[in-house]
Every structure is written in C-alpha cells, then in structure tokens.
Symmetry: C2
Subunit: 242 residues, 2 copies
C-alpha cells in the first residue's frame, strides 16, 4: 500500500529569504529512502490561522504529516498552539516535558521556558535515551524543530517508524536534447501508466544532457518500460543505464 | 501598500528528494529585496488537478504569483495545461512562440517541440532582446522554468516590474539563550504590533547565540522597538546592533 506524507515548513525566515530551508530536502530524501511518497510541501508564516488550517487539511489528506519550526520559547513559536486550534483542543502542559524543562533550567524555568512544555491535548510524547528533547506527535502530525541539526538528530532516531515498501528506480543517461526524444518518451509514458517517468535536462555536463528516471514500487514494470525506451530511442545517444 | 506574492514549485523531482529546490531561496531573497511579501510556497507534483487548483487559489489570494517548472517538451511538463484548466480556458499556440521554436528547431520542430509554444488563452508574452525565451504571464501568474540558471536569468530581466516599497530591518546579536530573553522579548513584541520580530538561535558561533530581527516598512517603528528591547535586555549579553 502506498504510504503518503505532507510536510509543513513553518517560518517567516524562509519566506523572507533570510535563510535557506534545508529541512525539506533532508526529509524528502529520507522519506524516499523509506518508501514514503511525499505529496506536498507548504512553507507558511508564523501565523496561527495558517498553521491551524494547514495542519488540519494535511492531517486529513496524508498518512503522515511532518512540521518543522516554531517550537521554541519566543513569541513566534506558535506551532503547538496552531495545531491545537486546528483540531479544537486545548494546549496543556505535558508532565514529562514539564519535568524535563525543570531539570534542565532549574530556577530559571520561567513562563517562557515552560511554554515549551505545552502540547495539544491528546499528544503522544516519545522519549529517547540518547536525545534530550522528546518528539511530540499529535494524531498523525510529527512536530519537529526547525534547526536542521536538531531535526536531523531527532528524525534519525524515529525514521524506522515510517518505513514502507521501497521504490525501484532506473536512470537512463542520454546525449540528446529533450526535443529529440520527447515524442518517443511521451509514447512510452502513455503505454506504461503504472510507472512514474521523469525527464531532466542537465546543463554543462560533457558526458550527457538528459537523465530519464523510471520508477515504481514494482520492479518488473520498471524493467519493461526501460526495455521499451531503449528499443525506441534513436541510435547513438545512449550513455548508460543505471 | 503591501504587495504580496505566492510561489508554486512544480516538480516530482523535488518531492522525491532527487534534487534540492534552489528556486525558492533565490526568489524569496529577490522578492524581499524588492519589498514584496512572500506569503506562501507550495511544492506540488506534476499533476494537472494539483496545478490547476493551486494556480487558481494563489491567483486569487496574492498580488503576484510565480510558478517554476513543468514548461519543457516532455510528458511531465504540464504547467501550461494545468493553469489553463484552473481558469477554464483553452491552451492555444502563441504565434510569437511558434515563430521562435520554428526558427530554433527548423525541420525538427515536431509536435513535442511545438507543445512549448502552447499557452493558456489570454496570456501575455514578454520578449527580451538578450534572452531567447519569452516570459509567459497569465493574469497575475508569472510562469518560470525550473532550471535554476534559466529562471535566474529570466527573473533578473523582469525583476523591476515587481518592486514595491522596501523593508527596514535591524538585527540584534546576543550572547544568550532564547530562554533567557524570551519573557522580555514577548513583552516588547506585545507592545509593538506593527513590527515583525524574529528570534533565531545560532549554533556553534563563538561570538553570539541569538539573532533577533526587527522589521517593518516604517523605519521609526523599528527604531522604537529596538530602543525598547535594548533598554530591557539583561546587561552584558549585547554583542552588536546592525
């Protein structure tokens, strides 16, 4: 069965071009390796209505949802509140998180710090032996931090929970322009509706100018499509199949 | 008046983690410099329904819409068709584009090539003296290629069309943790509702551990907020204001 995912990147700093989002690429590549189909990425501002609408609609549309950003102690960290609002539940202090923050901050655990212990009511909190901060999961929404190093550490600890059956992928490297092969490619695509094809022009590579990707969860379907393509492509343009 | 924008990144290759999207960061930074507020980025697959829904809803929601990707000759290049469907108009061959492609490809201008001359009916086509490919604009939707070099060349030629009044931004660099300053920051934020504040923890920098950003189109509002913050922050943590 196809397992689908949606990714919500929360942060004004991305939309205003102050920093480049690294988390989308990391998660897209990880999910692919795990056999999960990432269907959509939304980058939205630190805004309660935007977060609540997006969380609710993604949660219904996809098997797995991931959010990044907006989980610190400052005014612009409103991911938890946004998700709670989206589902009409309260924000509550989670006892395990409360303990963690009291241990970590001691007498400096002021209101701003303890805000980080608040989660949408009904959240699951996953603890790790090797990582200080638990992962908060509300329904199918996995709430990750925005700082790439923290996100990557945490994701690596839970990635196996998300594994589905893998994809089978072949790449055909060609010395040609897309316009030379588009008609043939379109014919083969039309005959192989269970397979996903991609065609990517490559600039400034002395060896090849197009990479075709042929992909499916069913290996035989990919092999058939590759054979059809190789039989029909013009002579002399094939660099390699991989 | 605030000028808003939405960005639609079209391409399975981004969602499947095969390549990292470079266009979002480039356009976010450019739009910021031009004084345009980027409100949302959506990354969606090469799918007609997704493209048509997103184009229609973005076109209504934002002053300016930009799409990237899906404009070549192959089966997965369906941005033009998706936009046409979203507005219930036909795809038509544009005479100027038809001429361009006939000149460029001569007798090799087959159906697949000529597909690149098709635009949603009613599109505007902007020609440049220094660039081979015109820019297609349908209503407020600016249709850019996905290959970063081509996109950047083309955007640079038209960027001045989008200029609005600029943002005024100050950054405060602090040697502190977010939890030390969150309560003070939240108070100042509450008093300065016309200003946008950001708080960004920085890892592994010997000099500072937080950057606060204070931003508005009105310079005086930013200066006031900065003064309030500097007056209330704990002593000894300020590194610099910039």
């Amino acid at each position: 069965m196809l397992r689908t995912a949606g990714l919500i990147i929360i942060g004004n700093e991305i939309l205003s071009g102050k920093c480049q989002d690294q988390n989308s690429f990391f998660l897209a590549a990880e999910l692919r390796l795990l056999g999960v189909s990432l269907m959509r990425i939304s980058v939205i501002p630190d805004d309660l209505d935007e977060i609540s609408n997006e969380a609710r609609s993604f949660s219904g549309a996809y098997d797995l949802v991931f959010t990044t950003g907006g989980v610190g102690p400052t005014h612009d960290d409103i991911t938890m509140e946004g998700i709670a609002r989206g589902f009409g539940v309260q924000l509550v202090r989670h006892p395990l998180l409360e303990d963690k923050f009291r241990q970590r901050y001691g007498s400096e655990a002021n209101e701003a710090v303890m805000k980080m212990a608040e989660v949408p009511e009904g959240s699951e909190v996953l603890e790790f032996s090797t990582n200080n901060f638990p992962l908060v999961i509300f329904k199918n929404i996995h709430i990750f931090p925005g700082i790439p190093r923290y996100l990557q550490e945490k994701f690596t600890l839970v990635r196996e929970r998300f594994r589905a059956s893998g994809f089978y992928l072949k790449r055909i490297y060609l010395r040609a322009d897309e316009s030379d092969i588009a008609a043939i490619l379109n014919t083969v695509v039309a005959r192989n509706s269970c397979v996903t094809f991609g065609s990517y022009p490559i600039l400034n590579n002395p060896e090849y100018r197009i990479i075709l990707t042929i992909e499916s969860k069913i290996k035989d379907d990919v092999e058939t499509a590759v054979e059809e393509l190789l039989a029909e492509l013009p002579e002399g343009i094939l660099v390699r199949v991989q």
